[in-house]
């Protein structure tokens, strides 16, 4: 069997369920308030939080782009499961205390904390730009991934069709359902994704042979794909990627927003430990799939290799009726992965624009009902701008990932120093962010995104930390500021 009938059927069923979930959530909303729209009134349970965190973290870019990278570099892409598990480690640095503060002081976003801590709108604006940048690129990645998936399935399917059709569906259900809708839909999508990944590994194992035979083939045709990093630069790049994603991924404002939406600390802790297990299993399987692809599709160019997963799907679909339908479910699963991330990101983008920029800098007295209404419409504005940008893909999905985290990383010193160091001053933090951001952007624009394998964003973050620390030491915070910080944020945690 071949053709698009199966994928269209599975996709339609999934989308109908998701739209229903959006509608159901709209009906279930507790109030027309920002806290309800953006945090589901902090009422979500472990299963929903864990599965939706999983679905948000595993997206179209990881299922298509990172598997394609495993095709290109072989076992060295094992850095993918490693850095994914580093994200919960990154959370451990600040979420335990921040969750308490978020509940006590009613934060919706990370910027609420930064404003409360540093009492500076300029600092919030600069940090907001970096956080916004990270999630915006994440959104663009998802649209590019859905276009790539469609285009890879058949030569007669245009790339733009995936971008446009899926983009519109996401915008409608996020606008209707808000955070509750997005997270419930993501939880369902997380389930479908797990099933899809399972089918993908089982069927590719059966069709192309197991990982053992793929490794044997690779040892003959391209042995470099079986090697660990061979140079100091390769090793440093691996370590740098772990820091880049571990800390940058933990800064995703949409994931932090999801964590704030947990019902209580127990739910939060259980969600994080379940997420750690899922983040280990899934990417490891995806790397193995990429290795199987590397042994069986020889000689694809970099941009062609981006489509290697859809190519595998369409090849396996032709083998039997069973695999045709199983692969149709995988197709739906990948789209779900893309949609779930895109929806989580979209709602966060509107949160940043409305709650962090509009409410903070333009109209502080806006009514919640009006802000929520504007947020719902803003989804469409963001979507249209992003669709125009990705209609012509300019780089690989992996490079987009790096660019995204390099921006996000620049907010790390503000959060960590803000949370743990009473003497950090707002001027030093702002200067640090600007210095670090300039270094990262400068390196990227000059065509040297890494130095000795270390990403510009990681070097920028180190510079950012150093500048913030030294300037804080020199400028010295007022004793009254230090005391107020101690009262509000540190003494609170002293038993």
């Amino acid at each position: 069997m071949s053709g698009m009938f199966g994928p269209i059927v599975t996709l339609t069923i999934s989308l109908v369920v998701m739209l229903y979930v959006g509608w159901y959530s709209y009906k279930k909303r507790q109030a027309e308030s920002m806290e309800d729209y953006f945090l589901a009134s902090r009422t979500l349970g472990t299963l929903v939080v864990a599965l939706s965190l999983f679905a948000t973290q595993y997206s179209g870019n990881s299922m298509i782009g990172y598997t394609a990278r495993a095709y290109r570099i072989g076992f060295q892409q094992l850095v993918f499961p490693v850095f994914m598990v580093m994200i919960p480690v990154g959370y451990m640095l600040f979420i335990p205390r921040l969750y308490v503060l978020a509940n006590r002081r009613k934060y919706i976003t990370l910027l609420d904390f930064l404003e409360d801590r540093f009492q500076s709108k300029v600092l919030c604006f600069v940090a907001g730009i970096f956080l916004f940048w990270g999630i915006y690129v994440q959104f663009v990645e998802q649209l590019q991934a859905s276009g790539t998936l469609f285009a890879g399935l058949g030569s007669n399917i245009p790339y733009w069709s995936g971008v446009v059709i899926l983009g519109l569906i996401i915008a409608v259900y996020v606008a209707v359902g808000g955070m509750r809708g997005a997270m419930l839909a993501q939880a369902i999508q997380g389930g479908i994704m797990l099933l899809g990944i399972l089918f993908l590994i089982v069927f590719s194992w059966m069709h192309y042979g197991g990982i053992g035979s793929s490794v044997q083939k690779l040892l003959e045709v391209s042995p470099e794909k079986v090697l660990p990093p061979q140079s100091a630069k390769g090793v440093l790049s691996w370590a740098s990627t772990m820091a880049l994603v571990g800390l940058g991924g933990a800064m995703y404002t949409h994931s932090i927003q999801q964590l704030f939406a947990s019902r209580n600390e127990k739910v939060l802790k259980r969600s994080l430990s379940r997420m750690a297990v899922l983040t280990f299993v899934t990417p490891t399987i995806l790397v193995f799939i990429g290795i199987i692809a590397a042994a069986n599709f020889l000689g694809l160019s970099t941009m062609e290799s981006e489509k290697v997963i859809p190519m595998m799907l369409s090849q396996m679909m032709q083998t039997s009726v069973l695999s045709y339908w199983a692969m149709s479910i995988v197709f739906a699963a990948i789209l779900m992965a893309t949609l779930s991330t895109a929806s989580g990101v979209l709602i966060s983008l509107t949160t940043v624009i409305i709650s962090d920029f509009y409410k903070r800098f333009i109209n502080p007295n806006v009514q919640d009902a009006k802000a929520t209404r504007i947020a719902r419409w803003f989804n469409f504005v963001i979507l249209i701008i992003s669709m125009i940008l990705v209609l012509e893909p300019r780089t690989t999905i992996w490079r987009l990932t790096e660019i995204k985290f390099e921006g996000l990383l620049q907010a790390v010193p503000a959060v960590l120093l803000g949370l743990y160091w009473p003497r950090a001053t707002k001027t030093s933090i702002i200067t640090g962010m600007i210095a670090g951001g300039s270094l990262a952007i400068g390196m990227s624009l000059s065509g040297h995104p890494t130095y000795m394998g270390i990403h510009g964003g990681v070097l920028g973050m180190l510079l950012n930390f150093a500048v913030a620390y030294l300037l804080s030491k020199i400028s010295k915070a007022h004793d009254s500021e230090v005391q107020s910080f101690n009262e509000k944020f540190v003494k609170l945690f002293k038993a």
Partner: protein, 106 residues
């Protein structure tokens, strides 16, 4: 310290305040903050082990269960990291006492 009476407080108010503070202190004795060295030393060691810098050349030919030995070891240390995260969330993190009941949702 308890005997120092604040200006203007009656003895009754003072006793009530001490009592409330006592309750709060008892509940905070259960508190565990993961921001401590015992937790982070483990994460740092695992970070170092998860970077493949210590494998000799030619390691790729040694296979375990069909995959290269070095990849197998990275996966093994990754499992250790996952277990470590689970342990920290279960046994080294309990700040619930700091969230006051009025802040909670019903």
């Amino acid at each position: 310290m308890i005997l120092e009476r604040k200006k203007g407080n009656t003895l009754q108010e003072e006793i009530k305040e001490c009592y409330e503070e006592g309750i709060a202190m008892t509940s905070r004795m259960e508190v565990k903050d993961p921001m401590n060295w015992r937790v982070w030393i483990r994460f740092i060691i695992l970070y170092i082990l998860l970077v493949p810098w210590y494998f000799p050349k030619g390691i790729s030919r040694v296979l375990v269960m069909g995959i290269p030995l070095w990849a197998f070891m990275i996966i093994f240390f990754l499992v250790c990291l996952v277990l470590c995260i689970i342990d920290v969330t279960r046994n080294h993190w309990d700040l619930e006492a700091f969230i006051e009941s009025k802040d909670r949702n019903p």
